[in-house]
Point group: C2
DNA sequence: ATCGCTATATTGCCAGTGTAAACATCGATC
DNA sequence: GATCGATGTTTACACTGGCAATATAGCGAT
């Protein structure tokens, strides 16, 4: 009956699956108390180990954050992909679905999103993070490149379409999370909220064409 | 009894204009060493005062950051306004000018921009900051509302136009500063850089109409 | 002039943080 | 069964922000 969970009694010297446990606790703290509260010592306390234990698995605070961000990007890419698959074939539908999924993820996991895009302590060279980011970007690009080119587009225009779509939804998500859109949302007709605003934004901003 | 050492000890007990000096040093540190290095003690050291001196003027680290962010937003709003004034009357021209100025500011003052939009320790209730943000938003909105409404627009559509324009340029700026657009920029035809990409993005994303 | 009064600046302290080194414990491998 | 590497703990150090107590200066009222 020796559960390595939170029993003050017979905690074995070695946790057994500390790395996983640390990541789980880290995400809990991140979403509950925010990025500022996500400290090595807090995570260690939550996992019931000494404050230097994470060093063995992540080497560094940057290491832990990068690893957690990689988890986030993986989930993120999966969510984007699923949303677009469910959206059917129409390019505009797919674009809209991607935008809704993008902002939806940010709202559902604000802490994780902040870590992924707003943290200064991520190591972009961290292999898992690098890979996860690449995957997510792939999903994103698929939303933009799905548009049927009515007229032949230059390479610059092609890239610009992807960049524009990404910038639009990313900017909306960031501003929304920072509360910078509060004023606009409050000025909307009653019954309209952030979701309706996003839908209207995606409708009014025609990327390409 | 007179000065044992003449030169380096000419610091009077009272600085005289410490608040201004602190803000100046803070910005220097911010742009030179990044947001992480912008600490109360570092600013105090740079200004040649004790580590608790800023308390009298800002009360708090949050106070100092908010004040500095307010300075940033003031400059930001001014830059946006000037760019749009210089752009003439055509709505699309004005929009493009605003976008270029927005991203241009972010690239010229990356530290300040990060503080303004990415910091977790700003006090949105801080009066100067609140006012400065409002001013900047005003300038921004002017860019979007300058578009002549060909057909009557609903309130939601009107707000959505402003939100879309803001999201687009803000997202581009954030992604650019985080280096997330590096891959796309490198994939551009030779001779094209971030500026051309931004121009193409603004051209391909037609906000409203 | 001088006596407070207030604003300004310093010193010293505390709790908290990340990181590194020395040490302890365990488990796998020979 | 001994050894060695992986995993945790302990201890220590240099930082940080914030607070309280103190020192200094400027300034108006008397």
């Amino acid at each position: 009956m020796n559960r390595p969970t939170a029993e003050p009694e017979k905690r074995p010297y070695h946790h057994g699956d500390l790395k996983t446990a640390l990541l789980r606790e880290a995400e809990l703290i991140l979403e509950r108390d925010g990025l500022q509260a996500l400290t090595l010592r807090a995570v260690s306390r939550a996992a019931g180990v000494s404050h230097a234990a994470p060093n063995n698995h992540f080497g560094d605070l940057t290491g832990l954050l990068s690893e957690l961000a990689a988890v986030g990007f993986n989930r993120f890419g999966t969510a984007l992909g699923k949303a677009m698959d469910a959206a059917g074939e129409d390019p505009r539908e797919r674009m809209t679905a991607m935008g809704l999924a993008y902002v939806g993820f940010a709202r559902k996991h604000p802490g994780l999103f902040a870590l992924m895009f707003r943290s200064e302590r991520l190591d972009d060279a961290h292999p898992p993070l690098r890979a996860a980011i690449n995957d997510a970007r792939q999903a994103l690009r698929a939303a933009a490149s799905a548009r049927a080119p009515a007229s032949p587009l230059s390479p610059l225009q092609l890239v610009a379409q992807a960049a524009a779509l990404w910038s639009l939804v990313h900017g909306f998500a960031m501003l929304l999370l920072e509360g910078r859109l509060e004023g606009m949302i409050k000025s909307l007709p009653s019954g309209e909220d952030a979701d309706s605003l996003l839908a209207a934004v995606l409708a009014t901003a025609r990327v390409g064409d």
